[in-house]
Symmetry: C2
């Protein structure tokens, strides 16, 4: 049986969000939240446009998903995000009690892993899905920015 709605399918959707951020000259990171094979939130980093350090893709996705569900907890939801969440986003995910986090590229400097941020005991986290695609986009963004300066 063909399964069109697998983790790779959803991560590609998150990558589309990252590309939308790239087009706006934002650090290209995208996130989506899925419940029962339905995408209930799509977001991308908007920290520059909004002049707001809290406007990470994950934060906006958490707010949008809670708004869709009508409740603040994201049990039975999965977050797909193109970069490993930072302390802030992992801290927000802790409060949300989300079931699963799937990220693409690892962030060895500021990711929640190296920073030691605690996730909720109910939350599973896996990384590395479409890592090359996500990190290539980030590398391209920073290379172009260096060339501009």
């Amino acid at each position: 049986m063909i399964q069109p709605f697998d983790d790779t399918y959803y991560m590609k959707k998150a990558l589309q969000e990252a590309e939308a951020a790239y087009e706006k000259q934002e650090v290209p990171i995208g996130a989506i939240i899925v419940i029962q094979d339905r995408i209930i939130a799509r977001a991308h980093n908007l920290t520059e446009q909004l002049n707001d350090v809290t406007a990470h893709a994950e934060m906006q996705a958490i707010t949008a998903a809670a708004n869709f569900l009508g409740g603040k907890y994201l049990q039975n939801c999965t977050l797909y995000v193109t970069l490993e969440p930072c302390q802030m986003c992992a801290g927000a995910l802790y409060w949300s009690q989300i079931s699963k986090i799937v990220y693409a590229a690892k962030d060895p400097q500021r990711g929640c892993g190296v920073m030691g941020t605690k996730l909720h005991p109910k939350t599973e986290i896996v990384g590395g899905l479409l890592e090359t695609e996500a990190s290539d986009l980030l590398k391209r963004f920073f290379a172009e920015r260096r060339n501009k300066n």
Copy 2:
């Protein structure tokens, strides 16, 4: 010389915000951000009303202060908050590069201290100012909530 604008003065303003949260049946936590003796953001916890785990007092204050300043970094700013920031809020404060954090009550369960959240190297953090007032308000809130259930 009388100095009306000291840390205690500002923490009392944060406590007024916590009381505003209390009136709305929100966990009573308030925050303000100050630059050069001027209050540029006032906020209180709104997680219940907004159905949003990200609506902590500090998060809203960071967004409001950046909006006021027209830039996303909060250098030369001080945050006064009635409870020690959690991982999410400390993570956001990390990105903001805020100069100083003054909190009232310690959070021995979920505070950034016990959770090991990293602050920006430029950020100073001090706790315990008007601790009794802040923790009494929290205790009163949770005692009333227990009695209701």
